[in-house]
Structures are given as C-alpha cells and as structure tokens.
Symmetry: C2
Subunit: 587 residues, 2 copies
C-alpha cells in the first residue's frame, strides 16, 4: 500500500501521527520560505507543508511539482495556523519528511476545478480528466449509492436479480435495434435488447415471482438532446399482483431512495392521477405538480360571441400566470412569438390581464368585461394575474398550454430542483390511433393489459370503442419528468391474440416476432406486471440536475460518438470478410 491514510480523513485528533498520503497535486504555492501543496484523492484534499525544517531533498522535489503530478508524501500531522473551514481536513497539515513523485503529468488542457475553463468537446475528449472534477465525482458516487440502495431494497422485498442476455433476436416493432453480425451463423444477426421486456415476462412464466435487474439497454434512434444510444434501466416484474400492489411496492422503493440518498421525506401515499386528468389539467402526461397554474377549459364561455378564432375550434383553454398582469406589450409580443415557434406550434396567443383597476385583454372588442372576468375566474386568476389562452384541437391545445405552463413556471422560478413532487399517472389509453398509417399502435407496448372492466370495449370492432379502452398502465413522474413506467401484462393467450389483431399484426408476423412468448403463455402464465425506471435520469434528478450526461462515466455525444475513444470506427477488411459483410457506405 502506497499510503497509510487517504486525503480526506485526517483530523485534529491525528496530530502528532506520522502518516503517508498518495494522490494528485491540486495546487502548490510558495509563501516566503514555506511551500504548501494541496494533495487530492477521491476522498478529499489535505495540505502538505514544506519548510526549512524539512530535508533538502523534500524541498527539491517540492519545487519540481506541477499540477496533477502523482505524489507520495510522508510526514507528521500538525495543527494549521490558519484553518480552512471549507475542508474537512482544514484543521491540520502534514509537515513533510519524505516526498516522492510517483508519476509526472503534462499540464492538463483545462482546469480540474468545480467550474472548469474547458469547453464541452475538449472535456469529452479528455473525459478521464473531466471525471477528476468534483461535480462528476459526486454524480458517480451518488449513482453508486442509488444502485446499492435499489438492490438492497428489492433484495429485502424478495426480488431476485437475474441477468438476461444481450445478444438476442431482432424484433422490428418500435424503435430500431442495434444489430450484431454473427460470424458463426453467416448472414444472421443478433440484436441488442431495447429492454429485457420479453425475458422478464418469461421469468414470470418460469415462476420466479419477483425479478429485477439494473441493466443496460440499447436503442438506435436519431438522437435528441440528452438521449444516449445505450442507457440503464431498473427493470422489475412481479407475479400474482394487481396494479395497486406494483404501485405500492415501487413508491416504497422511491421513498426509501429519497430518504437514504437525499435525506428527503416523501408523503406515505403518492398522488395518483389519471392520464385524462393530467392532460386536462396540465397538458402533459408527465405533469410538474410543484406549482399550480392548472389549465382550465373555457370553450363554452367564449364561443358564440362572434370571435371567429374561438368559434371555429373545438377547444379553448386558459392558464392564469400569477402576478404577471404587469407584462408589457413587448413581453406579450415576445411570448406570442414564443408559442408560435414550431416546438410549441400554437397559432397565436390571447391574453387577459386582471388588474386592480379592471380587465384588459387582446380580445376586449369581442367580449364584455364581465365575460372576460368570467373566463379569468374560471382559470382561477386573482388580481395581478395574467390569463393566457390558446385554442384548437383539444389534446393538441392542451399540450401547447402545458408547454407554456412549464415555460412560465421556469420564468417565475417555480421549479426548484431541491423540491421533489412525485406522483403516479394511471389509466392510460391502451391504444393510439395513427391517422397517417390508419391503424392503432400500442401506447405502452403490445403486452399491456386492458383494464378488466374495458374488456368488452376491447373486443368491439368500432374505432370509437377501442379509443376508450384504458390500460392497466402507470408512469412514475417527478417534477415534470417521466422516470419510469409499466403495466399489468396480458397473461391470457386469447387476449394477447386480440391485441395483435387490433394492432394489425398478422398471425405469421406475430409468430415470427413473438412466437416464443406466445408459445410460453400456453404453458401456465401467471397474472403479472411490472415496470422499469430510467436509471440515468433517476440519478440526474436525485442529483438536482436536468441532464444525464454527468451521471454516466463515459457518455456518447449527440451523434452517438465516444470522442475519447474515437468510436465507432472502421474495421479492417479481413474482419468484414469473416462476418460475410460488405460496406456500401462509399458506393
């Protein structure tokens, strides 16, 4: 062992001890005849002191040091003259008797500080140096702690962690698979799993009762900001349970994590909100309930007054922005432009200011002050509030109002990352109709069970009936982000067959893609259900961050490249030949 102690553990009680530390030079400075070196490791920083009482060799080595040199330092713990309250070791310093360079370092291309002077691209290239910075170290230590707590909680609840394969079969439903050519089976490919969904269901068929896994998943999507081609899930499944059992167990897990990792107490019973209520009130199936500003439908209050914009649409909705009645014309114009951006997609914005001295609105030539007051009241506006209205197709307009609500929440500082407001969204629609392809898609996935009370509707041939079928599906939402979701699964072969029929998946196709699971269900599948959490995102939110990249040791950039490794890269022709492949990239 190169050290007797680490750089974070020495205290006033250690004074007089002879110790050896090893670590990196955070900084070195000279004050008169005395040199101070801050030595850093994972555990902290300790001050080393070189003065006239130290051997000449120590002074000599000391003056040769640069930033990030790896050193081994032996000396005696002494009380510091000027203490540093910001450091855990700030009461002491080590007067050196020996100093050795274990490895020199080139000057790093950016500073290893909490806020670095390096740009994103440069830090990505030298990720191993960026990882030395405190914020990243804290993020990865939080992630480790989260994983430990998740595993021990689920172990205590009787769950078994069972590893499922990574080289599986490609099933072209949903997002694109990454594929892996098989040398041993020419012309054939494995796929990397988008999730262990079918395996965990097979484990339920096999009687394993409670399964979980913290597991890597892969999705070959066109990357959006903050998406990674490989990501980690907390994947869980249980047998002989109903929805309520799953929700109770996993809100218990999340409560445990909040308590153990963040020291935060979460209500013993989380709110449950139906998908329909979430859409109507928040214009989102992942509502941020840290603040109000609920959406109100005002259609009936504004139609029939000759304002054709409102008269020609099926839905008009409003939110009341607290204390924003003072918005200037310029601010309102800017907000109007903002909602018209393609990312929001509204046609325009109508406002009603509820001032001390009366109502003021962009549409006051169509409506009486009383009518406008009625709209404002319906939206819950008080004096000093600004009511914002959007109109159009119902769900689309609600979604736009939802985006606007979040934006106003941000502008008003209502979204404190230290406040945690989790809830469950339940009763999702089972199916989503797609106008373009004129077919239904599974809102979660094709193994999600319809609610038993909707089974009759599920067997109807009418599109309107099928649109009303709700699923035993649920999402765990925190502060406007979906952290996880799942469902009670179909366990009966005939219901599963009906699902494939509704989705327009032919028997041959179903057999080809899901044959093994359809077959498995014929041999005694128990009622079962589960869910999965996006572990990267759970860690980020627990760490008070919105982006996941700092919570992944070696992430990829926006086009799926690892700039440190310079991957992906070309492989040589011999390897291509062995795989029976030819590239057409340059043809």
């Amino acid at each position: 062992m190169y050290r007797s102690h680490n750089c974070g553990e020495l205290r006033i009680g250690d004074i007089g001890r002879s110790v050896t530390l090893a670590g990196w030079v955070q900084k070195a400075r000279k004050m008169g005849g005395i040199s101070f070196i801050d030595i850093r490791d994972r555990y902290g920083i300790t001050q080393l002191r070189v003065d006239e009482s130290c051997p000449a060799s120590v002074a000599e080595v000391s003056s040769s040091l640069g930033r990030e040199y790896v050193i081994q330092a032996t000396g005696v713990v002494e009380e510091r003259q000027s203490k540093n309250e910001k450091l855990d070791t700030g009461d002491i310093e080590i007067r050196l008797t020996e100093l050795k360079v274990l490895n020199a370092s080139q000057t790093p291309p950016f500073t290893i500080e909490d806020v670095s002077d390096g740009g994103e691209e440069l830090r990505a290239k030298y990720r191993y140096l960026d990882l030395r910075r405190n914020p990243l170290k804290k993020a990865l230590m939080l992630r480790h702690r989260m994983a430990v707590e998740v595993r021990n909680y689920l172990d205590r609840q009787g769950f078994l962690e069972i590893e499922t394969p990574f080289l599986i079969k490609s099933t072209p439903e949903g997002a694109r698979d990454f594929v892996v050519p098989s040398r041993m089976n020419p012309g054939e490919f494995y796929a990397l799993p988008q999730s262990p969904q079918t395996f965990k269901q097979l484990l339920m068929v096999a009687g394993y009762d409670r399964y979980f896994q913290i597991v890597r998943c892969f999705r070959d999507e066109d990357l959006r900001a903050d998406r990674q081609p490989e990501f980690t899930q907390i994947d869980c499944e249980m047998s002989f349970v109903e929805q309520e059992d799953v929700l109770n167990l996993f809100e218990g897990m999340m409560r445990h994590l909040f308590k153990e990792v963040c020291g935060v107490d979460i209500a013993p019973k989380l709110p449950r909100m139906t998908w329909f209520e979430a859409m109507d009130r928040y214009g989102s199936d992942k509502p941020d309930i840290r603040f109000g500003m609920d959406i109100s439908e005002v259609t009936s209050l504004v139609q029939g007054n000759g304002f054709s914009v409102f008269d020609s649409v099926p839905y008009v909705g409003a939110i009341a922005v607290p204390g924003a009645a003072e918005y200037t014309r310029k601010q309102l114009d800017e907000l109007t432009e903002w909602v018209k951006r393609p990312q929001v997609g509204a046609k325009g914005l109508v406002y009603i200011k509820v001032n001390e001295d009366g109502i003021k609105s962009s549409i006051d030539k169509f409506y009486s002050p009383e009518q406008l007051q009625a709209v404002a009241s319906k939206a819950g506006a008080k004096i000093g509030d600004l009511v914002l209205l959007l109109c159009g197709q119902k769900r689309k307009t609600q979604t736009q109002l939802g985006v606007l609500r979040i934006e106003m929440g941000n502008r008003l500082g209502l979204r404190d990352p230290k406040v945690f407001a989790p809830l469950w969204i339940v009763d999702f629609p089972l199916l989503e109709w797609d106008d373009e392809t004129q077919r239904f898609y599974a809102m979660h996935h094709p193994f999600t069970a319809p609610k038993p009370e909707h089974l009759k509707l599920f067997y109807s041939d009418r599109k309107e009936d099928l649109e009303q079928v709700c699923a035993n599906a649920y999402d765990f939402v925190l502060n406007g982000t979906e952290l996880g979701g799942g469902s009670i699964r179909i366990h009966e072969a005939d219901v599963q067959q009906r699902m494939f029929d509704v989705l327009g998946i032919s028997r041959e196709d179903a057999e080809y893609k899901f044959g093994f699971i359809i077959n498995a269900f014929k041999f005694g599948a128990p009622p079962h259900g589960g869910l999965a959490f996006g572990f990267d995102r759970v860690c980020a939110l627990f760490g008070g961050q919105e982006t996941i990249r700092d919570f992944i040791a070696f992430p990829k950039n926006n086009v799926g490249r690892d700039v440190m490794l310079d991957a992906p890269s070309r492989i040589d022709d011999a390897q291509m030949d062995e795989l029976f492949l030819k590239s057409t990239a340059n043809e």
Copy 2:
C-alpha cells in the same frame, strides 16, 4: 394481490387460518373421495385438500386441472394426517373453500422434476419451463445471493460500482470482438467489450481509487464446450496498491462468499504458489490441490541406462497413484490409449507397480529393481501405489502429467465438489514466445507490469532474458479451475512503450489501438492494479457444479445460438440498407 401467503411459508402454527395461495399445479391425485393437489411457486409446495366438505364447485374445478395449470386456492389451514417431512409445509394442508383457474396449461413437453425426462435440446427450446425445475431455480437464487454479497462486501470496502460503456472501439488485439454497425456513422462499427480493462484503468487515472462492476463481456470465439459468447465478470481495480494488497482484499471477499453463501470456513491466509512451482508440481497453472499425487521429475534417475525413449528427451516425470498397483494389464492398456489421445498427446505411458512382493514395471528389462524403487520413492509411492511416467519436452510433459493426474483423481474419487481448496498462483511469466509467428505475446495482456526486480531483464534485447521476466500477475484458482486473475498494471508511459516494442506493436498501431490510454497515462496515472473473476464459473463452482449453463438464465448453445429465441436470425433488407451493409453469405 392474488394471494395472502406463498406456497412455502405455512406451518403448524397457522392452523385454523383462512388463506389464499396462488401457483402452479405440481400434481393432483384422487384417493377415494378425496383429491389432493400440490400447488407450487418459487417458495415451495403446499398440499391442497378437496373432500366432501368442500363446495361442489371446488370439486368440479379440481377435477378439471392438469399439470402446470395456474390456480388460486382459498381455504383453511389444517393439520395433515400423514405428514411429509421432506416438505417445509409438510405438517399442514389447506381444505379448500374456493378454487379458481387463473390460466390453463398445455401439457409440458417434459416433466418439471429435479431430474427431468426431457433432452437437452428440448429443454433449451422451452427454457422457461426448464427454469421451473428446482436445480435451476436454486442455481439462479445462488447467483443472486452471490451478486448481493459481492456488491455489499466491496461497497463496505469503499469500492464504487461504475458502469462502463458497451458500445466501444474495436481493438483487434487478442480474441475477436463482436461488432455493431453504426447507422449514424456509415461504414463504421462499435465493438462490444471483451472486458472493461481500459475503462477501469482510465477510472484509476481519473482518481476513482477503488472501482468494481459486475458486468457482461463478449468474445467472438470459436466456442468450446462450456464457453458462452457473452459472460459476466466481477471486474475490479484499485489505486496505490501493491500485489499483496490486491490478493489480501480479494481473498477476503472470497472468504466472505464461502462463509455467507456456502457456510464454509476458508483458511485466513490462502496458499500462494508461483507459476513455476504449479507447473513443476501439478503440470497446470490452475492446480487442483484437493489431493496430492504431485509430479516428480525423475530424469536423472532414468537416463543413461540404455532406454532410448528416456535417453532422447530432456524431461521424464512421474506421479504415484495411491492404491492403484492392482491395475490390470487391460486397465493399463486402456490408460495408455487414453494418454495417447490427441487431447492429451503423450507418445506412450510407462508404469511401475509397487507391490507388497516387489516392483513390477513395463521397463524392468532396462532397470534394476533398486533403480525402479528409487524412481518410485522419488515420486512418493508407497506399497500398493502405481507410478506413471511420461517423457518429452519439459512443460509439455508436465502438462500431460497434469491432465493424467486430474483423470486419476477423478477415477479415485478424490475431487469432492463439496471440498473447496482455493489458492493464488503468482509470478507468471510476463511474455510467451510463439514459435510460429516468431514473436512474444503478453501472457495476461499488454498492460501487465513486469516485476520491479526484473525491469533490467525487461529492457534486454536477448530473447532468453525476456523469457525470464516475471509479471506482477496472479490467478485465483479453485479446485482445478481458474476463477479469476489480474495484475499490477504498468502506470509509466515509458514502460508501456517498451511493452509495445517487445510485443512488436508499432507506434502507429499502438497509437491507433490504444492511443487514448497511452495519452491518459501522460496526465498523472497512479500505480494501480486489479483483477476480474468469471462470475458464471464462480457461481457454478460454489453451487458444486462443473458446467456454467445452469447458472445462466438464458444461455446459448455450442454454436452460439439461443434456440428458444431462434437467434441470431436474418434481418430485412431495409435494415441492411440503413446500415450501409450487404451480406455476402450467399454469394
């Protein structure tokens, strides 16, 4: 929840309680007017009783049941008339008041018993049914327990579990990589990691000090029996340590596992044997030390007597097989054929029987009884033992003797899977010379450090000097199987460069393949080392098995196929086009 209790928990103290169980029909039988149903879940088996006191509907459902039906049964716990001591629940039964079929089952294609009547291929196809059998359930539960204990042990030792990427860069050193074509980067490929070796070293450079991960690895090898293309490692690395620190910490971990998982106490300090001693004494770098039968060199005792077979070779070695002097001529002929098989590769076999009434040998016309007795004594033979001799090149012959030794250990029943005899093999040669390609290869991998006392030899240009260089490398061996291994790594850029030079890896090649790690080492790499255990095999041996397949939930067969999924498989042309690939498999 479909149940109030599981099928393994009811006891005599529960008599009189009304309970609901859910599970699978293990078997159902009728005795007179009474039916008994054994209901099974992960936790155990409970007997259900249907008699004339039960509602008619219960009797009716009961008579419709088949094997593996999923049922829900409600009734009252009663004391059994004839108790079953083999079952934890054998004191009680449930007299049913309600019985419901949750899901029917086709008759499984093989029996769900400890020993099934199904063949290997059939059971692989219906893996989800095979997994219902007790031996597999126990294997996966053991694996879960092992993972929990490994993680908690290492967590308590200050290790952080840090996830490393799966989509990395192909480095054509060593075994073949599986590759993953990148759609977003046409013509380029990711590789799946053979191990996180470089990442864990980068994490040490980044200052994470103690890293571990239980992680999937991939190797596209021509499969041998009991090899899997994907396998799991316990992967570990530590900074500021010397070899002895690593060995002590991880034998502590293994001792913890033996104690917690198997209830076995292992000696507080494991034996350490040099690679040279292991080869000389056991003809193997993974010796089974549960039994003796050490190899002895007898070259000097047998040369110069006119027996040209021995005179013409550099090495003659012997083992003494206890109590095997009674071997018949036929048995000895069979053994001679056995060592001549290509898997062993010996030219022939010489024996010396040490009988009560004197020595008998296949070479007694060349040697006096005293000479033969001297050979037998050197081999440690007592009266009643059979001495077996092989000859040829030293290491090759020792290896053959090692294989013969294991075979004789098996035949004599000396290899009890319930006995655990772990040890460390240390001081491996750093380099292996390959005659065919006329170059050195790294015995472990190119990042393994030479022993500091051999540094001068390492910089020599003479082949003989380089062959003598030992590595700070170590293997953990249990009962004749290597469970893990590792090394102290090179942390100095110039030593690493020398290593590449010795291996004949050009600067350009090294830069292309390992550029990022060579570069990382310029920015303050600490002294570090680590190791990795093969988790599948560790689980198998702890479970008293030799083959790993039962300890993997969904293994692949000998040609890398998942016969349940029918993977790998063809992908459609559209997907090939998206990946800029053409298959040449059918050209």
